[in-house]
Symmetry: C2
Subunit: 376 residues, 2 copies
């Protein structure tokens, strides 16, 4: 008998009541019934991201929403600053460059957050900069940016701040309006506990003013077209109807817990996970670790790819490895969305067992799972 456990940073586990709704009979999307679902999701998203602005909802991946944010606020030739601390920062750079936007890339080591002072300097050196783009959290480097500090700097300039919170949403504190984030990019498949397929973007009044002059070509993701349909509780094109049903249920769950409590749960889980990683004898990957996942550096020469394969094959437990230059050298364990201390106990239980089987000597067997349990 095999039981499977998904403890990876997205897609994350989908609660049964959320998944079940996606199997309901299909609704036509131009009906009062779907309109009510759409409205519940629209209001729910405003609650989750703390905004009064409309939330544009796209059929697509987080990457399509990152692209939509760029093409709806910028023009070819515009100057932007991208603060990159991982693979999603690199993705923002590629997207901007694909549309002829000139990027000043401020790169940090994977594990180091973007330094707000460097953004401030770069903005002073080039006052023509139209936008600053950063991640809220970058799962590849398991790092949390100080979004508020960056927003405090950018909001004093004519530039807009574009924040990718696809992986941060729900797990990390976020106040879109109060923090003066101009463009918030997110998706349904991580903290929001829904199967992937819906991506969202919300914009401040300042960003909407930029939108008017944004010349990057676009059609299906044009926010003017998408926003115009919101008043009728619709999307202009056929939406992923069943995922909207799921998402409406997931948002109900977030409301039941209360978003502040959701943040607090992630904080507690991440503290336990960080302690457990250190109890295994490993260093944390990040100097400013995210609350939605934890990265650990494996001892030099240890085969991280084999570790993950054995955990999955022998115990059915799936955690994430490193990407690009970190491949095989780290592991990443998620505590994002529909996760609790028992999930951490499973993850660290499989880690302790497999590390031992591979000949690694645990400093104190059982300590990591006890620390995971402490988040109960």
């Amino acid at each position: 008998m095999k039981k499977y456990y998904l403890i990876t940073p997205g897609p994350t586990p989908v609660p049964h009541r959320v998944a079940a709704r996606s199997a309901e009979p299909i609704l036509h999307h131009r009906t009062k019934e779907f309109g009510e679902i759409f409205k519940a999701v629209q209001d729910g998203m405003k609650y989750v991201i703390k905004t009064k602005q409309d939330v544009m909802m796209l059929a697509g991946s987080g990457t399509s929403a990152m692209e939509a944010a760029v093409v709806n606020t910028l023009s070819p030739g515009d100057h932007v600053i991208v603060g990159s601390m991982g693979s999603f920062g690199e993705r923002f750079i590629k997207i901007c460059e694909a549309f002829g936007v000139h990027v000043n890339a401020i790169r940090e080591e994977w594990g180091t957050p973007v330094n707000p002072a460097k953004i401030e300097d770069a903005l002073k050196k080039d006052p023509s900069v139209k936008a600053v783009l950063i991640q809220h959290t970058d799962t590849s480097s398991t790092t949390l940016n100080d979004v508020k500090a960056v927003a405090d700097i950018v909001s004093k300039t004519s530039a807009i701040l574009i924040v990718d919170s696809v992986s941060g949403l729900g797990g990390e504190e976020l106040h879109m309006d109060d923090w003066e984030i101009d463009v918030l990019v997110t998706g349904c498949q991580k903290g929001l506990m829904t199967a992937p397929g819906i991506a969202m973007v919300a914009m401040s009044d300042k960003a909407w003013a930029h939108h008017k002059n944004a010349k990057c070509p676009r059609f299906s993701v044009d926010f003017s077209i998408i926003r115009a349909a919101i008043k009728d509780n619709e999307t202009p094109w056929t939406p992923p109807v069943t995922l909207f049903l799921s998402l409406s249920e997931a948002i109900k769950m977030v409301r039941e817990e209360g978003i502040e409590n959701t943040w607090a749960r992630h904080k507690k889980l991440s503290a336990a996970a960080r302690a457990a990683v250190q109890a295994l004898g490993f260093q944390l990957l990040s100097s400013r670790p995210a609350n939605v996942l934890t990265g650990a550096i494996l001892p030099a020469g240890f085969d991280g790819t084999l570790l993950l394969r054995k955990m999955l094959d022998e115990h059915g437990v799936s955690i994430a490895g490193g990407q690009e230059h970190l491949k095989g050298k780290i592991f990443r364990i998620a505590h994002m969305g529909y996760m609790n201390a028992f999930d951490l106990m499973i993850g660290f239980g499989a880690l302790e067992k497999t590390l031992t089987d591979m000949g690694y000597k645990l400093p104190e067997p059982g300590k990591a799972i006890k620390l995971a349990q402490s988040a109960l």
Copy 2:
């Protein structure tokens, strides 16, 4: 007690076994398990559209796939011909214009197919034309284009033929490779009986050669990036995992029926629907009606909007009305995807009853449902 019946051209009813798979526990998309699902969908799509080419699969609506087809094969300033016979033809025009592509629009009345001779003339007059864009079927005008005749013309030139078969696929005969269609655009939510959220595009070698020189900016829908991931049975960005599970099941159903038999079933249903519309005393909207839905012109002054509202409110039966200049003047009944003669009997049963309730005198009460039954 209310039972609901969706007899509209998309989203179309989702069979229980297809819907149920979307509620399965979420799979991580970088796993062997998902790779097998991806491969089954990839092979299945080749079977359904009759091609040997790779099928690019996007998280998105049909509209995003139409846009993806344009930006992956064209450059700003290119000349194209759009044959438009309904709202989706108009959408192709808007997409091209949004990306700076110069459109020669050949417009037909809604209900008249695109005339291949007009395409031929336009190609002769402007040999710089890079692409011809048409719909396979346009649901707004319930009309089927003669795609093969247009392909015979375009394939003799340097231009490529881009065909939107979002609504035609599965219901209308289609041989992508044999007919020499260069770019085939489609989606999962109509003939393929899956909830909306996956869109697909396949391209001929000729279209791939155009792709190399296509300068429209793009990133998340760049076919070079998407195609490169197919060999690993992956998408570059997070795919709508649960919809892939559903789609793999729907494709199994199409294989069980056999695609040629699927086409034949739609042909039989459409013949019955056309006869039934005429038995109600109405004219067909189209001179070349599609096999996936049937449009009927209501008598002048008859309130088509009220007809549809009453059918839904009093009998739970949802059919479609007219769009734009046809709003309130026509109705459209679908026989697309997971539909059979009983669905037609329900549709025409509700139509006969509601028309009579509204004071319309049926030429021969009961005749339309008998004709619908004849498709059994």
